[in-house]
């Protein structure tokens, strides 16, 4: 009797629709199949963009599958009309390319969302986007894109394909080929391989930063942004793309300092918000009234020194140092401050 009850309970747990083990397993399998398909297509697209041709061997290295799994995957893709092969080389069909571009778009939009709306550190967004990119359909992507104001580039500077599958041209020259002491704005930091990218971030390089190459030798390349110097190996420099910068960074302008450095009781006019501050955090500061031209006074400093409160537009608003660092102000002369 007890065994019968136990057996029927187990059967129930396995066979229950949607929540049963069997149903969950099917969901997991189909998710895995979709993930593999899309990763394979993405690889083929990347190889095509880079001007290489893809083969079984390169695909195998990318996906880490056994020979048998790889063969059945390739067979399925060919059957679905996503790729065609001429024995050794694999190519995307038009349908395959459309799907691959969708995945690429999903990946880059996710990266923007993670970095700018959720504040995930930029060297961690790639890994998370790799998992999330398989979960949205084109309509959902359109909505995500619209909600973020149709971003053109991802947090590394890679262009985001449009809904029509057109990839905007990635501008920029590789940093290794940039002339000495000409101001350049960083527009792209290559996020693959992750280790090289982590090193660039650790050096303190950021998208939008204006730098000059001040020294170039076969073993290293030295950059300066006016305050700090960055030393890069030539290999790393090949992962950075720049364009000609029209002007010097705002921070270097005369008398401009971050709000956090404003002495207690002093007044200042807001010059700009740091261009690296994006997404939700930037909108929040703007909504509170931290707009260029507004008058602000450093008001309160608690016993801990942080956060500090600022008087702005008739209200008192407390900001942590991380936020007040991002507001660039020009201090007023004391006699004018009130």
């Amino acid at each position: 009797m007890a065994i019968a009850i136990l057996l029927s309970l187990v059967a129930f747990a396995v066979l229950l629709p949607t929540y049963g083990v069997a149903a969950q397993w099917r969901v997991y399998r189909s998710g895995l199949a979709r993930e593999r398909t899309e990763n394979a297509l993405k690889h083929l697209l990347r190889q095509a963009t880079d001007g290489h041709s893809a083969s079984f061997r390169s695909l195998k290295g990318e996906l880490g599958l056994s020979d048998r799994e790889l063969l059945s995957l390739a067979e399925r893709l060919e059957l679905e009309g996503l790729i065609h092969s001429d024995g050794t080389h694999l190519k995307l069909t038009t349908d395959g390319e459309r799907l691959a571009l969708h995945v690429l778009r999903a990946h880059r939009l996710w990266e923007v969302y993670l970095a700018e709306e959720l504040g995930v550190p930029v060297d961690r967004v790639h890994a998370q986007a790799e998992r999330q990119e398989h979960r949205l359909n084109p309509q959902q992507l359109d909505r995500l894109s619209a909600a973020m104001g149709h971003p053109d580039i991802d947090p590394h500077g890679d262009p985001i394909p449009g809904p029509d599958g057109v990839v905007p041209e990635a501008p920029g020259t590789v940093l290794s080929a940039w002339p000495l002491s000409t101001p350049a704005r960083i527009v792209h930091l290559e996020d693959e391989p992750p280790l090289a990218f982590a090193q660039l971030i650790a050096e303190g390089l950021k998208l939008g930063q204006v730098v000059r190459v001040i020294e170039r030798t076969p073993s290293r390349l030295v950059l300066s942004d006016g305050e700090n110097e960055f030393r890069l190996a030539p290999m790393l420099a090949a992962n950075v793309h720049v364009v000609a910068a029209s002007s010097e960074p705002a921070r270097a302008l005369d008398g401009v300092l971050p709000l956090s450095d404003l002495p207690s009781g002093a007044a200042a006019d807001i010059v700009a918000l740091d261009p690296h501050l994006k997404g939700f955090a930037r909108r929040r500061l703007l909504d509170l009234g931290f707009t260029p031209g507004a008058r602000v006074r450093s008001e309160l400093q608690p016993f801990s020194g942080d956060p500090r409160a600022y008087r702005l537009r008739g209200t008192t608003i407390a900001l942590r140092r991380e936020q007040s660092d991002r507001v660039l102000v020009r201090a007023l002369q004391p006699e004018r401050s009130r």
């Binding site: 504040g119 995930v120 955090a281 929040r284 309160l300 407390a318 991380e322």
Partner: protein
């Protein structure tokens, strides 16, 4: 002659093309122009009456957030609020209790005279009704004092200053400064505190605040803490200062709870909720004269009655369960005794005993009934009880049931740290829409409570 037709699709396409030519800073321009317009309107319509109140505000702010007075002032205000609640609630609590218990006696007698069977009378009046009466008389007076006091602080504009002062601690814990607001709300009711985390806009930090809200004791747990503080701590002092000592030790427990809040937030931010402290912006509103009528309305209607109503909903069934456990006998002893002796070894290991553990299982729906349930099982009397005096209570616990200072300390710790009540767990589920977070919200504090009390019990036994 035909006009060129413009369809919505054309407009969208045109906008899409123009969007690309926008400067990066167009958002700033939009917001700036909105603010510019607002300023123009307000200059025309608002007559600024000078800035005397502003200067007063600034002076108060400078004191309230100063290096010297900031923290002590916060603790002092907290202590005063607790002291007023403890002292003020005593008499009305006793009056309510005797009135409601008189109703119970009268109704039970009336039932018996009408020939209703004993089990029905007992179940309805000594079970369900007595549970209700306990909760109402224990909870209503302190809440009716605590919530208005709390609302006054809120109305004055003091609470944002608390968040401002404490933010650096929360920042180091990887949490949001506004967690200080939801935490203070938790003193009233943890379920309300969990709802109050809506002011935190980062999802990660909001979850941290939700999962740690339980570590500040709510109104329902204060009776337990106050009883222990009065019976075991304050009893050692002369009566004149006893109430201050009781309030002081409750404040100490509360500070410990805040330390646990920060510590657990810190651990969560480095393990399952990894991430950096995000943007924090907090408006410090001008100080205002509190509106007494509005305070009474919001604190009595919105908070007191709301919390009381849901306590009643959970206390009535709990009262029924207690009565059943105490009155159904198997093999000569009642169920309560059976279960509590089964739990005894576990209870002993953490410096408590089986009865206390059973009490906490019964009290999952509402923490308010912990003290009466515990006493009821101890006295094996068959219904929830109120003892005549604190001395009798002390004799019962120490002489008959072997309580020591360790039991009292560990019970205080357990009461502070253990799993939240059913309402709070349900609220966590509703706020996160995730069974996983609700389960973590319930089990994490429980595991911590067992761990900490086991540690103190082991250390105490090793030392003494």
């Amino acid at each position: 002659m035909t006009e060129p037709v413009t369809t919505p699709a054309d407009v969208i396409r045109e906008a899409g093309a123009l969007r690309r030519s926008l400067e990066a800073g167009f958002r700033e321009e939009v917001v700036s122009s909105i603010y510019g317009e607002v300023e123009r309107v307000s200059r025309r319509a608002v007559n600024d009456q000078g800035s005397r109140t502003l200067e007063l505000d600034q002076q108060i702010d400078r004191i309230v957030t100063s290096r010297l007075f900031g923290l002590p002032l916060m603790l002092l205000i907290l202590a005063v609020v607790f002291w007023l609640t403890i002292v003020g609630a005593n008499v009305p609590s006793a009056m309510l209790a005797s009135a409601l218990f008189a109703v119970e006696d009268w109704a039970a007698a009336w039932f018996t005279s009408r020939g209703s069977p004993d089990w029905l009378t007992g179940f309805l009046w000594h079970g369900v009704f007595r549970g209700l009466a306990w909760v109402v008389s224990v909870m209503l007076p302190p809440m009716a004092i605590f919530f208005p006091l709390f609302t006054i602080l809120e109305d004055l504009g003091y609470l944002p200053r608390v968040a401002f002062n404490l933010d650096y601690l929360f920042k180091r814990a990887g949490a949001h400064g506004k967690q200080a607001l939801s935490m203070t709300m938790g003193f009233g009711c943890n379920a309300a505190g969990v709802i109050a985390t809506r002011v935190i806009d980062s999802p990660r930090e909001r979850l941290v605040a939700i999962l740690t809200n339980n570590f500040v004791p709510c109104n329902g747990r204060f009776p337990t803490l106050i009883m222990l503080a009065t019976v075991f701590v304050a009893a050692a002092f002369p009566p004149a200062v006893a109430s201050f000592v009781a309030a002081g030790s409750v404040v100490a427990i509360v500070v410990l709870g805040v330390i646990f809040t920060l510590g657990v937030s810190w651990v969560l931010s480095r393990t399952i909720l990894r991430g950096e402290a995000s943007a924090f912006t907090l408006e410090l509103p001008p100080y205002r004269r509190p509106g007494i009528l509005r305070i009474l309305y919001t604190s009595i209607i919105d908070r007191t009655l709301f919390v009381l109503w849901r306590a009643i909903q959970t206390a009535a069934p709990a009262g029924a369960v207690i009565w059943l456990l105490a009155n159904i006998s198997v093999g000569g002893t009642n169920l309560a005794t059976h279960v509590s002796s089964a739990l005894n070894p576990l209870g002993r290991a953490i410096g408590l005993d089986g009865v206390i553990l059973l009490t906490y299982i019964i009290a999952i729906p509402a923490n308010e009934i912990v003290v009466p349930t515990m006493l009821m099982i101890y006295m094996a009397q068959g219904m929830m009880t109120e003892l005549e005096s604190l001395d009798a209570l002390r004799r019962l616990l120490v002489d008959q049931h072997g309580w020591t200072m360790l039991t009292a300390v560990n019970l205080m710790l357990f009461s502070l740290l253990h799993n939240p009540c059913a309402t709070t767990i349900i609220t966590i589920y509703k706020e996160t829409l995730s069974g996983k977070w609700a389960a973590i919200g319930a089990l994490l504090p429980l595991a911590l409570a067992f761990g900490v009390t086991f540690l103190t019990a082991t250390v105490a036994r090793w030392l003494f």
